[in-house]
Symmetry: C2
Subunit: 204 residues, 2 copies
């Protein structure tokens, strides 16, 4: 979508139907033909990027399962996908963040926001649940608490990395991010996997 590029390098406020049309190489009328209103267009763009990111993560997990990787490793990769460590993810981050800001007073956008966030958290919880069944996670651990914590770390880390891509004290942000995610996962996935073939996340 052309809207996303626009948002990413000019900001959501810079998005006008006219500009969007030009950037997409079409006329204003055509944009109107597809979206009855501007809000509709923005909503579409938001759901679109959200879905795209999710698809990438899901794909990552699916192939991971196929290769019989441990769940903790899969989660690490998945979480890293949401941290803006390269240009692609940085662009995505900018877009989602812009929408997140507007979500505060646009119910339709807010809905997409909570839905995606919720799905991420629930999938993590599911992964933890599966981890229990295969021995990677201690049985007495609360999956929802841990999932919330992991979701929070991911989202928070994303912001830290975005603000200081160079990292702190000479250590690159990407390295810090990786090690933090790893450590955080290590407090949840404390055992070895001894059973395979389960689904990790509820990727419907």
């Amino acid at each position: 979508m052309a809207v996303c590029e626009l948002i990413s390098d000019a900001g959501l406020d810079a998005v006008t139907v006219a500009r969007t049309a030009r950037s997409a190489g079409m006329s204003v009328g055509l944009v109107q033909h597809y979206f009855r209103t501007k809000d509709e267009m923005l909503l579409h763009a938001f759901t679109y990027v959200s879905a795209r990111i999710r698809d990438r993560v899901d794909e990552l997990i699916r192939t991971g399962i196929r290769h019989r990787k441990p769940i903790s490793g899969l989660l690490a990769e998945a979480m890293a996908q949401l941290v803006p460590m390269d240009e692609t993810r940085r662009t995505e981050f900018r877009v989602t963040r812009a929408f997140a800001g507007r979500s505060l007073d646009a119910p339709a956008l807010a809905d997409v926001d909570v839905r995606t966030a919720r799905k991420l958290r629930d999938d993590i919880a599911q992964a933890i649940h599966n981890g229990k069944e295969c021995g990677e996670v201690a049985p007495e651990l609360d999956p929802w608490l841990a999932a919330t914590r992991l979701a929070a770390i991911t989202e928070g880390l994303a912001m830290q990395v975005y603000r200081d891509p160079g990292g702190v004290n000479g250590v690159p942000a990407a390295d810090m991010s990786d090690s933090i995610i790893k450590n955080e996962l290590a407090t949840v996935f404390t055992g070895e996997c001894h059973q395979y073939g389960r689904r990790v996340a509820g990727s419907a």
Copy 2:
């Protein structure tokens, strides 16, 4: 500030000089008298709320020190201040988030954003450093890594709690938040404090 109220319950886009003026009980002309431009006004509002939150945290820490509380407890309280658990904090959260969204393409706002975030993280690092000197923290622990993690958890938790104030699975968000913060701090502050009288954070 009247701007903040407006932002909180109508969104940043709903902020016009005219509306702001009316909401503050004055004329458009007077607003112009104080702020040459609208952006100037918004910038002022952003720095204002940021400073207010910080002041509250600083005050909390200062009295905590006076009462000789352990550093980990102070940090827990401080971090909780940034999580929208009551109406006040929820309002603040909405305002700061709205600005954070616009920060993506407004250098002046972005500056305030990174400055406040950076300050929080550095203060946490300082607290950890102090924790080492008084025995609460293991000497080999990397302060910057831990500080980044704690800052990330705080910010991420804030979003989780904002989206699901009711919590997950029957557990109130506030309770989850508290326990997550506590656990997270427990991995850093592993010892007992045996020495008093140090500053916790660099509250200048």
